[in-house]
Amino acid sequence: MKPFSPVSRARALAPVLALGLMTSSCLAANWTAGFEEGKPAIKSISQITFGPDAILFVADSKSASIFAIATEDAKAGAPGKMIQVAGINAKAAALLGTTADQVLIDDLAVNPISHTAYLAVSRGRGPDAVPTLIRVKQDSQLEWVNLDRVKFSRVDLPDAPTDTPPAEGRRGANPRVETITDIAFLEDRLLVAGLSNEEFSSTLRSVPFPFKKVARGASVEIYHGAHGRFETRAPIRTFVPFMVGNEPQLLAAYTCTPLVQLPLKDLLPGSKVKGKTIAELGNRNRPIDMIVYQKGGKDYLLLANSSRGVMKVSTDKIEAAENIAEPVKDGSTRGLAYETVKGWTGVDQLDRLDQDTALVLRHSEGSVQNLESLPLP
């Protein structure tokens, strides 16, 4: 969904850059070392994001697993090419032999090397739906991605510590599902945010990559201490890794739209972490997706929302931002300054195509979805 690109990292992670590059080059040959070859048993695709060396991470909520797939789509793409596909949902459907109403595009991720867009597409809308990948190359042509024989690696996420087997009399499988709401790759780990369909809990896991077994309970509970005296458990909708000063942080948007900053070093297994609310982004609104980018030497965050359009947040004051501890009474916004980007309406998915361009999946009236390249604001 949002690769932590070499470009932004070079600046954003300046203090650790030398170390980072050395580590990367030492490990470069090893990213796929433990991969097996064959057909990954993917049951659903909730989220996708790119890691190093054109490795695509696929989050499968149904089987509570993450797959790392070597796409081998590692030839550098030409800069400045704009992907434009009108009616992408109908075109993807035709490729899969069905109509637009029978497919759902669940996520979008751009390969930062080739600038090819990958779409997580569900063929069908019921429990027997077939998850699949379609890619859109720089010439805007669609191609189905065959995963029958690929190099891949898989890690299973442990159930919540309190989970117990279904009792007798409850037929079938355990109805509890932890839906993966976002994933992001950072340096040598994959961060995975999840939301349960039973207890109201939100987890954030840090999964080392190359994958090892994830320890049971290797999750953290996130609180945000906003809104005066009450701290609450809150589900993270979307997040990006980001440097604040010298420290890697997560900027996370919660389902009720405050923007929260969490230090990554606090995210230890089993810990309870309290984030700092750095902006309130308004009501009647849900965050959908976010990316970070640079323009004119400054860092920005772009946040797509359900009803308040796309917000551009200047992040150069994050370091100094104070926790918003008091409810905002006058209807104005508090915290980091942001502007609403005009014309970016109906955004369903968002990623960065290259350093100057965003790629958005957005809907117009009716059910038509378009894939459009837009200059970063």
Binding site: G97, R125, T164, A167, E168, N197, E199, T232, R286, P327
Partner: protein
């Protein structure tokens, strides 16, 4: 689904076999299968994804995905694009329409949990239970919360694109937007709570919602309820009433909660251990509007001490769990957390 072209010369199919994996688009120039759109055309559509191979005296395409009933597919073979083709032979065209399954409305919404007619003002979630698998994608348009005067409550639910279904897609979890129930949260101050004490609401599910077979629901569903005071107390096991069965029987262990509990969690997070600490197998039932939990063991009860166990993450209707209330007042009682993973209550079987 496969399409075969036969009657080609052995030399041509050898040549095709040599083409190998020249890419699906290359093969598709010779033989392709496309969906026919409702206006009868296929020009706009990409050929279907699948695999090609040469067979003795011919060429075969296997579609990757099945054909959808009721849609028309067109296979086109261009002899003029074969290796060593002579002249402009016209393409061969064949159409196929798989029989439509009659999509009759038989799926129902069978129950909404919590089942009680009075619900706390800070209710956290509903579960919608359907009789058969449903379809996902833009479901929230079919779910409405209306006030007694018919006016619709604006955005009362947490709309999550992924949609919180169970694996069989017969149960949907519907969280009330926490921003509309928490104390002191900004949206609450601006647009008010989703539910207000003393008022009557109706949760309505439209019949247009499609099941997994693309058929609408048998009928719309309405749950009318009154809103009571907020529940800010944590579930307290010491207040539960436990009626122990008699030893040697498979009698019911009856547990009455002080507070109705979450329907899903009460079935998953409460169980019984024997004196040796082994978990007993048996059947669980919830009744009395999620206030009563009963357990029938598979084997007869043995005399002696047993332990009723509940995960501390078990929630009541407002999301308060044994560990802590949904809203923790940080200046007040935050240190009251228990910290253990489970709460227990001993009882004696005689």
């Amino acid at each position: 689904m496969g399409v075969e072209v036969r009657g080609l010369s052995g030399r041509i199919s050898d040549e095709l076999a040599r083409r190998g994996d020249g890419g699906w688009m290359e093969w598709a120039k010779t033989l392709s299968v496309r969906l026919v759109s409702s206006n009868g055309g296929t020009n706009d559509w990409l050929p279907m994804a699948g695999s090609y191979r040469a067979i003795p005296g011919g060429l075969r395409f296997d579609a990757r995905f099945g054909l959808s009933p009721g849609l028309t597919y067109e296979a086109v073979f261009h002899p003029s694009r074969l290796p060593e083709a002579r002249g402009d032979e016209p393409p061969l065209v064949s159409r196929h329409t798989p029989l439509i399954r009659r999509a009759s409305s038989t799926t129902r919404l069978t129950q909404v949990y919590p089942t009680a007619a009075v619900l706390p003002e800070n209710l956290l979630k509903f579960y919608l239970q359907f009789s058969a698998p449903m379809s996902r994608g833009r479901i929230y348009q079919h779910i409405h919360l209306r006030r007694a005067n018919g006016g619709e409550v604006e955005l009362p639910f947490l709309e999550i694109n992924e949609e919180l279904w169970d694996p069989s897609m017969t149960r949907l979890t519907l969280f009330i937007d926490p921003g509309r129930i928490k104390r002191g949260v900004r949206p609450l101050e601006e647009i008010g709570p989703a539910l207000e004490e003393g008022k009557i609401y109706t949760l309505t599910i439209d019949s247009q919602w499609r099941d997994a077979n693309d058929a609408p629901l048998e009928s719309a569903f309405r749950k009318r309820f009154r809103v009571g005071p907020p529940d800010r107390d944590t579930p307290d096991m010491s207040l539960w009433r436990v009626d122990a069965p008699r030893a040697g029987t498979r009698g019911k262990l009856k547990v009455s909660f002080n507070d109705p509990l979450d329907h899903a969690l009460a079935q998953r997070m409460i169980f019984v251990r024997d004196r040796e600490g082994a978990r007993l197998e048996g059947a669980i039932e919830l009744s009395d509007h999620e206030r009563r939990w009963t357990f029938i063991p598979r084997k007869p009860w043995r005399a002696g001490e047993h332990t009723l166990v509940a995960a501390t993450t078990i929630e009541d209707l407002a999301g308060n769990n044994i560990d802590k209330p949904f809203d923790v007042d940080v200046f007040d009682s935050v240190q009251r957390r228990i910290g253990a993973n489970e709460a227990t209550r001993r009882f004696e079987v005689r």
